[in-house]
Amino acid sequence: MDHTHDKYYIPHGSHWPVVGSCALFMMLGGFAVYLNGAAIGGTVSLIGLALLVVMLAGWFGTVIAESMSDCYNSQVDKSFRMGMMWFIFSEVMFFAAFFGALFYARQLVIPWLGGEGTKFMTNLMLWPGFEALWPSNGPAHAGGEFETMAAAGLPAINTAILLSSSVTITIAHHALKNGNRLLLNLGVLVTVILGFSFIFLQATEYMHAYSELNLKLSTGIYGSTFFVLTGFHGLHVTIGAIFLTVIWFRVLRGHFTPQKHFAFEAAAWYWHFVDVVWLCLYFFVYWL
């Protein structure tokens, strides 16, 4: 434990959490109303989303200002680090649920529907003629004939992009620690550009899947797992890229010192996290 501080630091009260609650109330409540078929819900949901963005900007803005005026001692810094670490752990568990669904469906459900072992009668009576093959859209061929996304094309380029972005952010980190601001600036900028390129290519890939491969969200269990896994990953890449963009603007303003740069590291950790998730995706979803 680090006890170089002589007095504890407690932040003053803040209205941002309550604003955040109101934002989520509108965003999710509105979306629920929209899903129930009332168009007004969509508008409310978007207003809620806008409010959420205002809240995040306001809350992080406050924290950045406090950090820049040297309010935070080393203990606060450590609390932030641990908080980010365990937040990423919870994100890992979120993805684990969807990977679990993929493995369970592929290794157990499809063979069972195909009549493996004691499930022979299930196949014979309920789904006669269904063969257990992967990829599958189930015995009812939900969504019709489809093709899978080839691992060698766009996904391979995307893998290269994300892997190199992990390298560039690490270069930037070393530059920051060595006091090389120019390289830091460039490193973060290249990472941001690579991040948004990934998102662009992923969107292209989705359009390709929908228009040419007949691979859709409704394409049975394959389409469900494919789009939900890659979709949530894409959402996280987007968040990470926005996070890094903010970091880049802070670099421009001269924030971060070789000793103190928690936000930078948090963004880098988050970026490595989406990178690792992508590697798992590439391996289990695209390749195997």
Partner: protein
């Protein structure tokens, strides 16, 4: 040997001369960054939800008072059982424990506050949002969710307009729990006073530390599960539909991967509370402190590999039935260690029986009954008969009511003088205890017999052979519900006034929280206390 920690009164400073004293009015609560104020909000909120969920189950027990349909239609009956479960789990028990954690953990580890006070505020203020969604579903077309708190598809997909609100309520409550868990972990890892090594921490801190990891690993999985439900319902996916290559049973696996750690999330902090209380009133250090810590950790690890014991009758392969049976029975070992340690702590102690101790003793005895019925349910072939009967209802209410809830009550009676500065009226509190302890058994013990005789759960009508025990159970439930009004009165009275409490309150209790005055000042340790 138990840890020894004592601090002298002059090591804590009460003066809030800086900018963060207690603000007045509504802002104090809305914008709070104070662990005590946020803890109070959690506790009051959970008490409110306790009565909301309690009212729902009174409707259920009124309907079950005698055979036949008399008060409500079956659809509403199902809504009440479902909402009772959701409200009690996510609204009453969990927030109560988080409230206790907020109040006590910083004081117990010698910290000024939680590590991330603003996030702490948000953790609380997400709860009203989640429960507004959940309670509002009662007034929507199609009514509230009625497929049981476990939300199994395909049944849950028949929910009306309430469905997306149910899913988003789970998301919001999950986010609240995850932020709360992160805060507790960081507080314990980073804010302990110097010399408060891990194995010197009070057991309440330890059990919450481990619980927080369970929350962190389980809640996101739950969020994933309900997200898949949402996608199946509105966006055409086939996760839980066999025609598309999915499987409704897969939902049960994902749900219970969350659900089983969840039931330990609701009991481990109670283990911690009674481990604080029993040594105080037995006037002996806790027997086997280290083994308590290791037992808690073992239970936590095991909780992730036993989930399918909730699904023995669903048609799993034999190997899975056997694995989950044996892994489940293994949990009895660390749990047995704990019960043994509590009893060994009391062995030859000079015991007195103040209200917190009474609740703790009832906890040890009645929770053990719930543990034994759990062992019965763990045996796969036997579970084939008990599954979805009132025996299961009796089992989990024994661990949740005289288990978790009595643990919370014990903690509240133990620390209320520290929070309010007033001694609790022992006579009233003991009356509350005896009423609760008697009625809880009248309510739930007959349900064992009903279940063994084959009465299914979640059905508003039953065969006449079950009439006597059901009437008994309903009377017990009404009595238990009414007795809790006395609890509200006792808490209200203690907050408002009464005999002044000393800083120690009880007879030489151990722990840093007893070194500060009662009531504990708004900011406790502005500089770290020194431990001897």
């Amino acid at each position: 040997m138990g840890p020894e920690y004592e601090a002298t009164a002059d090591q804590y400073q009460a003066d809030d001369h800086d900018h963060h004293g207690a603000p007045s009015g509504i802002k104090r609560w809305l914008f709070s960054t104070n662990h005590k104020d946020i803890g109070t909000m959690y506790l009051v909120f959970s008490l409110l939800m306790f009565f909301v969920g309690g009212t729902m189950i009174m409707i259920v027990r009124a309907e079950l008072f005698q055979p036949g349909l008399q008060f409500v239609d079956p659809a509403f009956f199902n809504q009440m059982t479902t909402m009772h479960g959701l409200v009690m789990v996510f609204g009453a028990i969990m927030p109560a424990f988080v409230g206790l954690a907020n109040w006590m953990i910083p004081m117990m580890v010698g910290a000024p506050d939680m590590a991330l006070p603003r996030m702490n505020n948000w953790s609380f203020w997400l709860l009203p949002v989640g429960f507004t969604f959940l309670v509002a579903t009662l007034f929507m077309p199609g009514g509230a969710p009625a497929a049981g708190w476990t939300m199994y598809p395909p049944l849950v997909l028949q929910t009306g307009d309430a469905f997306p609100f149910l899913v988003f309520a789970v998301h919001i409550l999950g986010a609240s729990s995850i932020m709360g868990a992160i805060n507790i972990i960081v507080t314990i890892m980073n804010m302990r006073a110097p010399k408060m090594t891990l194995l010197k921490m009070p057991l309440f801190v330890w059990t919450w530390f481990i619980t927080a990891f369970l929350l962190l690993a389980a809640m996101p999985v739950f969020a994933g599960a309900v997200t898949m439900l949402l996608f199946d319902q509105y966006f055409g996916t086939h996760f839980f539909n066999a025609a598309g290559g999915g499987d409704p049973v897969m939902f049960q696996h994902i749900f219970w991967f969350f659900g089983h750690p969840e039931v330990y999330i609701m009991i481990l902090p109670a283990f911690g509370i009674v481990s604080e209380i029993i040594p105080t009133f037995a006037r002996k250090p806790l027997f086997g402190y280290n083994s308590m810590v290791y037992a808690t950790a073992s239970i936590a690890v095991l909780s992730f590999i036993v989930w399918a014991h909730h699904m023995f009758t669903v048609g799993m392969p034999l190997a899975a039935e056997l694995f989950f049976m044996f892994s489940t029975m293994l949990i009895a070992v660390p749990t047995g260690v704990k019960v043994f340690n509590w009893i060994a702590t009391m062995w030859r102690g000079s015991m007195t029986f103040e209200t917190p101790m009474l609740f703790s003793l009832a906890f040890v005895f009645l929770f053990t009954i719930g543990g034994f019925s759990g062992l019965m349910l763990a045996i796969t072939p036997v579970d084939f008969q008990y599954h979805d009967t009132y025996f299961v209802v009796a089992h989990f209410h024994y661990v949740l009511v005289p288990g978790s809830l009595f643990g919370i009550m014990a903690g509240v009676y133990y620390w209320l003088p520290k929070w309010t500065g007033h001694v609790v009226d022992e006579k009233l509190a003991k009356t509350h205890f005896w009423l609760s302890a008697i009625f809880v058994n009248i309510t739930f013990f007959p349900q064992h017999f009903l279940g063994l005789a084959g009465m299914p759960r979640r059905i508003p009508d039953y065969s006449t052979q079950f009439a006597d025990f059901n009437m008994m159970s309903s009377l017990g439930a009404f009595g238990f519900g009414l007795s809790q009004l006395l609890f509200v009165y006792i808490v209200y009275r203690t907050v408002k006034g009464g005999e002044k409490a000393s800083s120690e309150v009880w007879d030489n209790p151990k722990g840093l929280e007893w070194t500060v005055p009662s009531p504990a000042p708004h900011h406790t340790f502005e500089t770290a206390p020194e431990l001897r």
